[in-house]
Symmetry: C2
Subunit: 127 residues, 2 copies
């Protein structure tokens, strides 16, 4: 998510989902999962941090690995160390592109998003 405004009262964010035909999709959930796997070195820890089941985290990783030419996450399931996972170079590139598209979109749409925001009810600074 990209911050469009620093206001504490109503920070405006853009979330973006990219659909590639019927069978591949990249959105905020997968991007965050990649970031957390990169940071924790573990699919299960990454999923846990997102309140996602182990099964769902694995499913999302498998979807991404199947959709892209090169795997985005490499993992060893188990072993004495309990297995681990790392985001590959391709995974890091996909993540950078996704975040960059988000930022580009938010910047390009900023004036129109501000127009929309001006049509909203005022809200108090403190809730």
């Amino acid at each position: 998510m990209s911050d469009l405004e620093a206001s504490p009262a109503r920070p405006t964010r853009l979330r973006l989902r990219i659909l590639f035909g019927e069978d591949a999709m990249l959105g905020p959930g997968k991007a965050e999962l990649l970031e957390r796997i990169r940071d924790t070195g573990s699919i299960s820890a990454a999923g846990r941090d997102m309140a996602m089941s182990y099964k769902r985290a694995w499913m999302l990783v498998e979807e991404m690995n199947a959709a892209f030419r090169a795997p985005l996450v490499e993992s060893s399931r188990g072993g004495s160390g309990g297995g681990g996972a790392r985001v590959t170079e391709a995974g890091l590139a996909v993540l950078r592109l996704y975040r960059s598209i988000e930022e580009t979109a938010a910047l390009a749409g900023a004036a129109q998003i501000a127009e929309l925001r001006a049509m909203l009810h005022d809200i108090p600074d403190q809730k």
Copy 2:
């Protein structure tokens, strides 16, 4: 959704959700609902077209009307004609802005989205 590519094999689309603080959100579902209410003159018909319960369609309309300064949808619940609904000038303006932000974002991100797409597995033209 904005078409980024005419290819029948893998049309790429961008879906966009705008979050205004914690309490207001505008995304593809609400935008489509507004369009269908505009076209059908009915909240229930619009919801039905989207395989959405009457209750959910009403809830989304009420959310939008509460979030914006002016109501986006005006409705008469019942009466001999069964009630009807229309999208207000404010509603049409919000819809235009939302679709325009989508288009702006898709255009601004097109080169990077193409980079992402080039990292996907090839898929056959015919499925």
